[in-house]
Point group: D2
Chain length 332, copies 4
């Protein structure tokens, strides 16, 4: 298979997921790693055989057909824009940015670009099966949706200040899933949140536990359940309640071995973290990005999706502060 | 076992559940049926061997130690009060009434009475096991709660006008369960609702699909999910998310037989309606009422519980109208 | 409903199951208890309101339409025969007897009688659903069958000497189920057995753990798995492997509550013993017997079924001793 | 990581599993493909980048440290022996051969060699977890074992004549699993078999449906359930019944999405074939072989394991013909 060279910008947590996947893809060649932290760059080189370059060098290389933007969130927009301007296909980790106005303002600059936003859950095999069965009409028209997204353990408090807060950093995944599944754009948002997991998160002005309600113009309702600490691994589930029944996508367990004694049953824990739970999704996402780089597919998740999810996350934050629902038709 | 005579007031839908259970209880004797509808009364007589009486006759009989108030909702308060004044132990179907002010006003009249309110779900074996395991600390401190209460099929539209609406008629069960499980009185309520099942319900001014959020002073959150039509039987579940994991009480299936073919698995439906799903709960409730009648137990669910649940239901209705959360400390 | 009087012969372990069920049946009236052990008889009287009588007295009463034979196994045949000769409908606990030749010899004496043999598992709702779905053709033609019948705990050694041994006392249930489900009479039997649970059982000449294979003339195979001690409650399952898939009837759990933590899931134990697991089956069996007593149904399980199951159990015992399969066409 | 060159002998069905896994292993380099069928060899070259060689050429290359023997069963012994004589580490697909006497005779020639036999199920993550939990004592001492190994669909009749028959070709996997799990060598074997799936298999002298019983010297019993056609995918399960409960390793489903309607639940099929079900096991097996090639681990499954499983399979065939148990202490 013909290979097209790509560059990885950022060899941190998400770069360590996407870089090796891209390096192992038969249609891609990871030519450059861009990261000012020498040790992170060197580790990626050792793992993938890529070379080290500056962003400018990587973008100037005409062999490079695509760029994986996995830098820190505050650099997503700048790096993605540079790559787009260099004519490269871009994969950009979520969120595009934390400032809704700024992200909206930049949107025209991405018109016509090949920009794929990293909402990985749309590529999860479990969720794709749920969506296909939903679309098949097997259980009738969708009425309400429940999304459970519970992290296994709270991040270190140092992560909080630049994270954008729970809604922009974490809930945004669910807001994108909701848009992907509801079949209508949510027009009303309400959020209720608490700090129950780590008081330090509260002192930093953030919350760690939240429930969000969305409503669409047609009256469909969606519940999003978030916590920073589940106590039971990475709890990732969807339930779709429809006119003729319901569909549920359950968690994936570590194994299928169960003990039964007089005291009851004991089964395996579910997968512990996003790296394990979404390993297939991350690979499928890079498969899709390879098709985009090769010009065979248009990006399935674009800049506009990032704006829409960010606007919903922003509305969540506003609602949680005000105690009232936000009407997005009035206050988008 | 010594038997104490009781009277059943109302031989309609709920009287047909409680009357036979009471008649079959070794510690109770169903002496009278009170119902002005001759056919309903006669059917209960045929089924239980009870006699027919007016409410006055039944209350005047010193042998009668207890009264089951299963009349229409608008008569609950009047009938319960008459029985209490006659010194009888009272089992009263929920809700006490639909007018919060009136129900609150009558509360002092029930002081010191033996009044058991019919929140049957507190007696469900599944939910009791969940509550016991929650209290045991097995999964740590409760943080958030999800209650799913989905009816199998919408009631006939004629039921709606005198029902009190979805929140007072239906959600009130979940509001009581939330109070029973949360360990703190909810202080904030938000409700979002739609009419998705039957447009006639909407024309009558009610809703058929709702999501409710509650918050307690300690920051615990609770989601209530309601619909008038599930498409998959009587969907009754609880999930309790705690600091060290979660507890879930699932549905009870019709049977445990599963087919597996190349097309997948096919299992049994869940129990179809409240009569089947809560059959054990209704029996346990009457068991408890028998203990109350015999003076061996105090009522586990009292008048104050009915007031509290009704106040929360009223707040749901207000919130759904206003689009804002209701702060019960400010506007109880 | 018209009630017909019946008599209970034997107020021991099985009489305590069937007596109260019959006493509570709307179409039956438990008029007499027959048991020479005064305390057992008195306990049954206290529980059901029946009177005490000798077998002769009970059979001489023309009001008595049916007899429940729950005496010790060595008396089953004698008591059942007396009742049949008195023209009564008979419910007889399994097995009819332990001596195959004697049981076969008595068979003509039961011709034309209303004799219901107590193979309760045919009345289990789980197993009935499995059989209905098997008959529906949903998964094609039956090819092989697995029956799991594991007792929770070994009986006291004193039970063993008069029990007939594992195959005649315990496996006989599965042999009847196999006949009920296979659609053909088994023609070949092989049994392999060990004493793993309690060495005292071995010293008494019996086994406590066995696997039995059956083959039908059409080549269908059946595995029976037995142990006297499961360590996990009363393990009762059926799997039917068919041309187009398989059907499985699973155990019934105590409840449906599951905890999930980082260490895995913890669910409820299964029902602990035959009294709980087959409570519905025992009631359905008495429902059917009431229909037989009233002359509205013919017995669903007859004397010939008892002979056939006993012959298979006898073949199991022979095979376990010889180490070779028993061909029932050659050595019935 | 240092890479050691290896050669693949046979690019057919199993070579297509192991060749790419070895080629993708960081510690191995697939240098040669040996297959006289030019198209099979070319396809493997295209997929892995290996070169084509004769067996002699591959064995003569001192860079080659290991050989994967994936030729037809009748060549396993010859090819494995040649590789062992050339001093290579050998991975050999099962079975070593179909002639027990010949395989036994050759055993001394493998003394001291690095010979890994391809019983892949020992490397299955599900079965490894079950074995670890069994060894942990969580449910007490093992008493009996049930192995379900059902193929999704019968092979073409042309496969049968050189397959060795159901027991040597198929049951042998379970016999190895039984040895791996029972903790004692089985000493008694009984097999009952039928031809229910495809009459052509019967005309060729083979069976397609079987149940096997094993007993160990300590009295442990094992049931093996085999069919050539499940109608429900690749049904691969283990149940271990122990003194204090039981352990079960269930199937892996295609996904965890379930629909629930008034008609019941509908879930995903299980994985359809050995390639999907044992993909992880095949990778783990090659991981282990790489350690053997590098001299860091001794083979976990050796020649003697192959002899023992073959002897049990041979006893199954004898028992199925004779209708009697085979005592391996008398007639090994």
């Amino acid at each position: 298979m013909e290979q097209i060279a790509i560059a990885l910008v950022g060899a941190g947590r998400m770069g360590q997921v996407h870089g090796p996947n891209a390096a192992g893809h038969p249609g891609l060649r990871l030519k450059y790693v861009v990261d000012s932290r020498a040790d992170a760059a060197a580790a990626m080189v050792a793992r993938t055989g890529a070379g080290i370059a500056s962003l400018e060098q990587a973008l100037a290389d005409p062999e490079v057909g695509g760029v994986l933007v996995c830098s820190t969130t505050d650099k997503h927009l700048e790096h993605a824009l540079a790559a787009v301007r260099a004519g490269k296909a871009v994969f950009c980790e979520k969120p595009i940015g934390l400032d809704l106005a700024q992200v909206r303002e930049a949107q025209p600059l991405f018109d016509g670009s090949r920009f794929l936003l990293g909402f990985n859950r749309r590529f999860d095999p479990q969720f794709r099966v749920l969506r296909q069965r939903l679309a098949s009409g097997e259980v009738g028209t969708l009425e309400t949706l429940h999304l459970v997204n519970h992290d296994p353990a709270a991040p270190p408090p140092g992560f909080i200040p630049n994270s954008g807060g729970l809604f922009l950093d974490f809930t945004i995944h669910d807001l994108d899933l909701a848009r992907w599944l509801l079949g209508e754009e949510p027009c009303e948002v309400f959020a209720m949140a608490s700090c129950l997991v780590d008081p330090e998160i509260g002192r930093l002005g953030d919350v760690d536990t939240a429930r969000v309600l969305l409503r669409t113009p047609g009256g469909r309702l969606c519940v999003i359940s978030n916590t920073r600490r589940s106590g039971c691994g990475y709890d990732q589930r969807i339930e779709a309640f429809c006119a003729d029944g319901r569909l549920a996508a359950g968690n994936v367990g570590h194994d299928r071995v169960v003990a039964l004694t007089d005291a009851g049953s004991r089964g395996a824990p579910i997968l512990p973290d996003f790296q394990h739970r979404y390993a297939d999704a991350y690979r499928a996402q890079i498969d899709h990005f390879a098709e985009v780089v090769h010009g065979r597919e248009a990006p399935a998740v674009g800049y506009a999706d990032g704006v829409a999810a960010l606007a919903l996350a922003d509305a969540c934050a506003r609602s949680a502060r005000s105690g009232a629902a936000v009407d997005l038709l009035v206050a988008p």
